[in-house]
Amino acid sequence: MPTPFDRRLARHARSTAPYLLACVLLGALGAGCVLAQAALLAHAVAAPAFPAALAAVIALRALLVWGQEVVAHRAAAGVTSQLRAGLLARVTADRPGARSGELTALVTRGVDALDPYFSRYLPQLVLALLVPVTVLAALAAADPAAAAIVAATLPLIPVFGVLIGTYAASRTRRQWRTLEVLAGHFADVVAGLPALKAFGRARAQARHIERVTGDHRRATLATLRIAFCSALVLELAATLAVALVAVSVGLRLVGGSISFETALFVLILAPEAYLPLRQAAAQFHAGQEGLAAADRILGLLDEPVPAPRPVSSPSRGDLRVEALAPREAVGPFSLDVPERAITALTGPSGAGKSSLIGALAGLVTPVSGRILSGGVQVVADDAWRRGIAWVPQRPFLFEGTVAENIAIAVPEAPGTAVSRAAEAVGVCTFTTLDTRLGVGGEGLSAGQRHRVALARAALRCDLLDTWLVLLDEPTAHLDVLTEVAVAEALTDLLRGRTALVATHRRALLERADRVVELSVRRDAELGSEPDRAVTV
């Protein structure tokens, strides 16, 4: 079984350590209350009398329980928030292309799984360490025989817990991975629902999902049966030990070797030794799930951060792409993009146009080759991107108004500039700036989404010192008339700037200063012709 607490958590979430300290303090006070209550109650029944001090102890106990809960919930919210922030910062730092479905599950539900771990499991764990020891010491002083029974059965619980837990833990870990894959799969299938529906496969997919979740249920249940076994051992050890203590004390009472008050004290106290362990075990699942999630989260957080490079001072001039392979099995290409001119990029689909543009925008890390700007090798960092406007083939629109979506290109852009940019590429012909869009730009057609993205580029050209414009199929979804209008607007926008535009549409090709055609790489030709860009 892994240790119940991962030290790395304290390192990544600052509020962990003070929280643990508070738990120990409250736990120690609670243990004291348990002893006092048992002693006072035993005396009251044996006398029989009504002790006023008992009322005070009971009130204090209630206060402690309340305080413990408040501290736990507040601390858990703080810790998970710190982890979430750290994780987001880490994830966004160097992986613009990673699998978002799984990562999203980790950043949202993965971190949420830590909440019960912090708010329930950890405080119970502290109590489970403190209270049994205190109770055992008190029992030993009052009745060594009962203390012996408790002392003999208490260790059984962690021992069996460890044995069964070790087995369950590895399965839980696998379970968590399955859940992630399942979530990714579900999202993928739902995104493709129109296609599934068109081919009458939606119902089959529903059955498939039913089957997969069914399998998942059976696997989870098999894990749980084993995990619950440790709880069973614990319950049995606890209740049977209390029964043994009761019988043993009762028989000795008959013999007269123990007083009634002591016997009652022992009977009241004995279950208290097991109660925190039982409650900790009830949170066992939360603990395991939390630890499994913590392991994945901390693994990501502990990945070495790429050393911060000195901020480059990008040089501007003719661009030269030298033997660049933007991704596996694509390229290498060599081509020139002269300064202050529009270079159109054509070539069959799959030739690598989008990857090449992504590499120029610093969003795709090339496999090999280099890019020169004004004769200086380009370091594609934030400083380099500051001079660029880039519009991808499938632009992503965020939930919010059209204006907000355009303004994302230049944070804090004035409203007048945003309307100017929208006007420039004809966004206002099909929507208003105040129109709210759903997630992923719901409410606009593909061509309209693209024009909103073009307005982003227009905004950057207008407000920033943008010298390089990278456009990936900017007019793909447009009809001929709209295409001509957009091409006209783009020509105005690109005047005096360096532009690389991937396109197949005549309206744009005609306006380009030069056209570069990329050829698709055939495996048979590998090596025979390393540089395959041909300038027309």
């Binding site: 109650l41 009251a44 029989p48 009504f50 008992l54 009971i58 209630a62 206060l63 329980v65 408040v70 858990a76 919210a77 928030s81 978002s100 999203t104 599950a105 579900f186 999202a187 995104a191 493709g192 629902l193 529906k197 068109a198 081919f199 009458g200 496969r201 939606a202 119902r203 089959a204 529903a206 039913e210 249920r217 249940l221 749980l224 709880a231 319950e235 209740t239 049977l240 029964a243 009761a246 004390v249 009762g250 028989l251 009472l253 008959v254 009634f260 016997a263 109660l275 689909s349 969003l363 939930e399 290109a409 230049v410 997630v439 593909a446 979804h477 001929v480 709209t482 197949h504 549409r505």
Partner: protein, 542 residues
């Protein structure tokens, strides 16, 4: 459309009932253990012959054993039921989203998936513990009442305070903070997912720091809501502890005078004082269960929102049989997406005899895609569309789709191999047939086993469209509706592909929706079609 669950809701309900009984019995065993132990010790202090104690000794051991075993049974059965419920809810959500597609993009999909878990949680951690604790507490009250009615009344009062009042106080107090919290949590999840999806844009525009700052603020709001809810969550647990202690004090206050007056056997004083301890151990879980129920209510509301969303296309009450003929006619067609203010489509009349090829042209946003959606029965319509003389709305949607195949312009590729992506059109197709369809779509160079990546990101935009085309070719449909299949292809390739496609379509009817320039004679594609129709200039689509 509905996916018939293999086992009905009965299986789940029977399991839930079984779990509740086992849980209650386990807690009753706990009460029994404490009561008999207390009696055993009190009786023993009067030094009776050991034989007098044998029944109590056996009972103490039996209660001890029963509690552990019953608790185990409860846990396994309850989790089984909850997981079944989860699977069922998930499938229902999926089926509903399928009915809604493509009208509603599954916006906060991640949230809905999480909400489904909340619905299952409602039983596992809400209702079941409540039922079990209620039964156990009632048993303890009856026992006390039987021994000393005053003690029973005190315990009843304490149980009501600790088991009903405390959770209600916690529940009410937490309500507003919780409602805010759920909204905040859902918003935070959605914004986080969006940030990761739109990461390239954010990085390219240097907007990432601002975006992360926004998320930090949303996160801080969620943390603040959790902090407020913590005060009241703790209040519930504290009140329960207080009520438990008061029950013990009350039993002492009632019992001690009764023993002095001789109304109560001294042997039973320990029983009435210690039994409340066990009863309140059972009630301890109630406050949390109440909070769970509240949270689950929000989840259930979100799930219902999806399940109750208006459907864009309704199935006929009694579907007519699929006609033999495949002539497609469109007369006075108008259609509107749910929630839209205007008609997205006012289509021209069409007449497609079997084997006829028609191109529908129109500006972006003129409703061409809506026409395709109507023909695929994704969307209800006014006016008339007949297939072989039968009105489309009188036919089952799946029947229609077995005759009319749609290839959309933003075709989704699933995160699997090229072959599997094509094969979904006809699952029983052989590898050769799949390869042939790919070749005809101009994607013969792609290996069947190549993985396309999440959302098809491992292949280029053009390749994605060709794979989608191959699907349409593989599907054995009589009428092919192609919604701008050439949107992502270069002109030369588009011409080749469309020509190949029209040739490959053979005797099938083809309705091609396109924004290509209609210059008869100049466009080689148009030589392969019988008719060119222009969609009216009423740009309505928003």
């Amino acid at each position: 459309m509905s996916a018939a669950p293999r086992r009905g809701p009965g299986a789940v309900h029977a399991r839930l009932g079984l779990a509740a009984s086992a849980g209650a019995a386990a807690l009753v065993c706990g009460v029994g253990l404490m009561a008999t132990s207390a009696w055993l010790i009190s009786r023993a202090s009067h030094h009776p012959p050991v034989l007098y104690l044998m029944v109590a000794i056996v009972a103490v051991r039996a209660f001890g054993l029963g509690r552990g075993v019953l608790r185990y049974a409860e846990r396994v059965v309850a989790h089984d039921a909850a997981l079944r419920l989860l699977a069922r809810t998930r499938v229902r959500i999926f089926v509903r989203l399928a009915e809604l597609a493509p009208a509603t993009r599954p916006g906060s999909l991640g949230a809905v998936v999480g909400n489904a878990e909340g619905v299952a949680d409602r039983w596992l951690r809400g209702v079941l513990p409540m039922v079990a604790a209620g039964i156990a507490a009632a048993t303890a009250v009856v026992l006390e009442w039987w021994i000393l009615p005053a003690a029973g009344a005190v315990l009843l009062g304490a149980v009501l305070a600790g088991g009903v009042l405390a959770p209600v106080v916690a529940w009410r107090g937490a309500r507003r903070a919780e409602a805010r919290g759920a909204e905040g949590r859902a918003a935070l999840s959605a914004r986080t997912a969006e940030t990761l999806d739109g990461l390239p844009e954010l990085v390219a525009y240097g907007a990432l720091p601002g975006r992360l700052e926004q998320l930090r603020r949303a996160d801080a709001a969620v943390v603040a809501a959790a902090g407020r809810s913590a005060w009241t969550a703790g209040l519930g647990a504290g009140l329960t502890t207080l009520a438990g202690g008061s029950a013990v004090l009350g039993a002492l206050a009632a019992g001690v005078p009764a023993v002095r007056d001789g109304r109560l056997d001294a042997v039973l004083l320990a029983v009435i004082v210690l039994t409340p301890l066990a009863a309140f151990e059972a009630l301890g879980a109630l406050s949390e269960a109440a909070q769970r129920l509240l949270r689950a209510r929000e989840d259930a509301a979100h799930v219902r929102e999806v399940l109750d969303a208006p459907v864009p296309s309704t199935e006929p009450a009694e579907a007519r049989p699929l006609p033999d003929g495949h002539r497609l006619t469109v007369r006075g067609l108008r259609a509107r997406w749910p929630g839209a203010a205007d008609d997205s489509l006012v289509a021209p009349d069409l007449d497609l005899a079997p084997g006829r090829r028609v191109v529908v042209m129109g500006r972006s946003g003129s409703g061409k895609s809506t026409l395709a959606a109507v023909l695929a029965r994704f969307l209800d319509y006014r006016g008339s569309v007949t297939l072989g003389g039968t009105e489309l709305r009188d036919l089952a949607a799946d029947d229609v789709r077995s005759v009319i195949g749609l290839c959309g312009q933003d075709a989704h590729l699933f995160d699997t191999t090229v072959a599997e992506n094509v094969r979904l059109a006809r699952p029983e197709a052989s590898d050769d047939e799949v390869a042939d369809a790919l070749r005809r779509a101009g994607a013969g160079h792609l290996g069947l086993g190549v993985r396309v990546g999440e959302h098809g990101t491992a292949v280029s935009g053009g390749e994605r469209q060709r794979i989608a085309l191959a699907r349409a070719l593989l599907a054995d449909v009589r009428i092919l509706v192609l919604d701008e299949p050439d949107a992502h292809l270069d002109d030369a390739t588009a011409t080749t592909v469309l020509t190949d496609l029209l040739r490959a379509a053979g005797s099938r009817t083809v309705l091609l929706v396109s924004h290509r320039a209609a210059i008869p004679g100049a466009d080689p594609v148009l030589r392969h079609v019988d008719e060119v129709v222009t969609v009216g200039d009423q740009p309505r689509n928003t």
